[in-house]
């Protein structure tokens, strides 16, 4: 048996704990059956499943590696012969084995209810509950592994944050699959698909991505050389997945109704840009790494560079390539494009470049321990406050200084790239000062 799984079973699945869980759940079942709870009784074990597997399980998953770091046993585990796959499996299923014991009892009761009341739900529930639980736990573990790269593991609050990310993932799944208002068909890449089936399939796919993500981060943690190919595959998948929707609830209705071609071209670029923001927000801003990458690049050691590229760099490159391609389509004079213009896309790429500079500037600034928060505040000021202030002061069209707008034309694009160049000049200045401050060997 997988050694890490075995160790977790020793710790988690003691006869006493298992008996306690079984007795408590049996008493609840008995209470539900003898108490007139009406329709609520149908959902008691669903609620218990969420409480045990999602709330408790995400905490166990978030602490699976963080707990080892706090207990100073992680280096010992890193030096073991366990493969990244074994370690991921051992952590994910081992640390949560006790909650799964309780969760499986709840699931059996839910499935028995399905067979009694509505057999058509049986297979959907058989897949939905375990997959949703595992997804939430995998996301919590993933978030904790990301945080380890940022060395943010010491406080209880940090673990709570990773748990919260897992719970949020479970909530999104619940909303898609259990909310009766969302049971309508989905139009995706021209196909009309039953909403339930589409979201169950999406759950399966995203569960697979979450598990792969945990595995890849575990490889990095165990010092196995890891190229960013899987991340590239993920962001391309996300771009294609999002571009497939005929309608997206968070986009303006007039755009979706009147200009579907612009939408289909812009959504992948926007998805890649969004993933760039997510990655740069959560990855460590490590000037030692950036200097090393620059040195390796100068020496022409491409493979070495590839092995340590950060995810935001890959996502940014993908956003740039796809953005330039879409801008060229916009310039080609193709018919049916009402909203999308080349200058707007170029301006969007400029603002993305500027914002990356803002994250790096605050992340690399000397003595800056909480670099991301000032960066987020700066972006808030740039996108929300300054346009309004300048507008109130009588500056004509101030929004073009801060947003990619269709009417701004090439002037808007020039503004965006001037801001980006200024920001990156500041970033390079900081890096230069830090390099000069280091002693020579």
């Amino acid at each position: 048996m997988n050694a890490e799984l075995q160790r977790n079973f020793w710790l988690e699945l003691t006869p006493r704990r298992m008996t306690q869980m079984a007795v408590v759940l049996a008493l609840i079942l008995l209470t539900v059956n003898v108490t007139p709870l009406g329709r609520a009784s149908e959902f008691v074990f669903e609620f218990l499943f969420y409480a045990i597997v999602v709330l408790w399980g995400t905490q166990s998953a978030a602490l699976a590696v963080v707990g080892e770091i706090r207990g100073r046993t992680w280096d010992f585990q890193r030096l073991s012969a366990l493969t990244p796959f074994e370690m991921t499996l051992g952590k994910l299923l081992g640390a949560t084995s006790y909650v799964w014991f309780g969760g499986l009892i709840c699931l059996l009761i839910i499935l028995a209810r399905d067979l009694r009341d509505d057999p058509s739900r049986f297979f959907a529930d058989l897949f939905y509950f375990p997959a949703m639980g595992l997804l939430s736990q995998a996301i919590a573990l993933f978030a904790s592994l990301v945080a380890i790269r940022r060395r943010q593991t010491r406080t209880q609050f940090s673990a709570f944050q990773y748990q919260a990310v897992g719970v949020l993932a479970a909530y999104v799944v619940w909303q898609r699959l259990r909310d009766p208002l969302r049971s309508s068909d989905v139009m995706w890449w021209g196909w009309t698909i039953d909403g339930q089936e589409f979201h169950l399939a999406s759950l399966a796919v995203f569960l697979a991505w979450a598990l792969i993500g945990c595995y890849r981060l575990m490889r990095v943690e165990l010092q196995v050389q890891t190229y960013p190919t899987v991340w590239l595959a993920f962001i391309l998948f996300m771009a294609a997945y999002m571009a497939g929707f005929e309608s997206l609830s968070f986009l303006p209705q007039f755009l979706q109704a009147n200009d579907p071609l612009s939408l289909r071209l812009m959504v992948p670029v926007a998805t890649l840009a969004f993933l760039t923001y997510v990655a740069v927000l959560f990855e460590p801003k490590d000037h030692v790494l950036y200097r090393w990458l620059a040195e390796m690049l100068a020496k022409g050691r491409t493979l070495a560079v590839m092995s340590r590229l950060q995810c935001w760099m890959i996502a940014y490159a993908a956003a740039m390539v796809s953005g330039i391609a879409v801008a060229l389509v916009g310039m080609s004079g193709i018919s049916g494009l009402a909203f999308l213009t080349a200058p707007m896309v170029v301006a969007g790429l400029g603002f993305l470049t500027r914002d990356l500079g803002i994250f790096l500037f605050f992340g690399l600034a000397p003595g800056q321990k909480r670099g991301d928060m000032p960066a987020i505040i700066t972006l808030g000021v740039l996108y929300l406050i300054l346009p309004r202030l300048l507008g109130a002061a009588g500056v004509p069209e101030p929004a073009m200084l801060f947003y990619p707008l269709p009417l701004a034309g090439w002037i808007g694009a020039i503004f965006a790239w001037v801001e980006a160049a200024a920001m990156w000049f500041l970033v390079v200045s900081i890096r230069g000062k830090q390099t000069a401050a280091l002693p020579q060997t």
């Binding site: 048996m1 050694a3 890490e4 075995q6 160790r7 020793w10 710790l11 207990g71 100073r72 046993t73 280096d75 010992f76 585990q77 890193r78 030096l79 073991s80 012969a81 366990l82 165990l222 010092q223 196995v224 050389q225 490590d286 000037h287 030692v288 090393w292 280091l438 002693p439 060997t441």
Partner: protein, 307 residues
Amino acid sequence: MIEVENLVYEYPSKRALKGIGLSVRPNTITALVGPNGAGKTTLLRCLAALDTPYDGTVHIAGLNTRDSPRAIHALLGYLPDFYGLYDALSVERCLIFAALAHGFTAAKAKEAAVMAAERVGLSDRLANPAAELSRGLRQRLAIAQAIVHEPKVVLLDEPAAGLDPMARRDLSKLLVSLKESGMTLVVSSHILSELEDYSDEMIIMEDGRVVGGAPVQLRQQQRALIRVQLASARNDLAALLSRHSGVEVLQSDNVSASFRLLGDAQSRVSLLRALVAEGLEIVSFGDAPHQLEAAYFAEVNREAQVS
């Protein structure tokens, strides 16, 4: 067994290793000494392929830490300065887990756990939870976990920190027995006296560099480390000693000196006679009590003079 070339490691605010180069021979115990903050722990973590250096190479048993970190993890044991144990598990289960995690089958893991426990003197505590062990016994258990898979190389970071004299003596014996069983050990400490009993070589680190540039050979069969003490001061003590063949003065003041002497027991007798004949009022003449300390300061002094 361990070859390090131009090793550089950087933290965001500090260059911790500044071009380290060293070599450790197989089947030896090498003391890694230096003041706090010298870079010993960072060096050990790079040797263990736990941290990736900025530049330079580390080879362990011919494997590069950059290319084959997992293979290196499999062939070494590492005890960090601050380590943890699985307190809720028994000693036996801690060791079985360590063996299973190194790829042993269940049957072999149990066997390896019993052997490792015997080696560190924990055979009678197999059923005890790790949480109930004293500090010295916890140290032994941590070492047993690190050696349960019979690694070729064992890296120990401040292993004697916080141990009482009895436990330190037991630790010395244990480390010597590990060396005798064919392992290569690197032991870091900033307390020199604790390394003296078992070290063959010494690497001195200071401010991210190896002072002196190469390991210092200890326990050289032909070069005893001797300390002489006088009843009355002699300003020319160092010069007087240096005039004799085979003598290398490491440290001296007006009333005492530590020096190396090339030769056997007869050489000592001859030197002692000569010194008495030269009018020195000798009150003691014998093996220096803190050989490693003397060697350390001699090396540090030499480095200071060079720079």
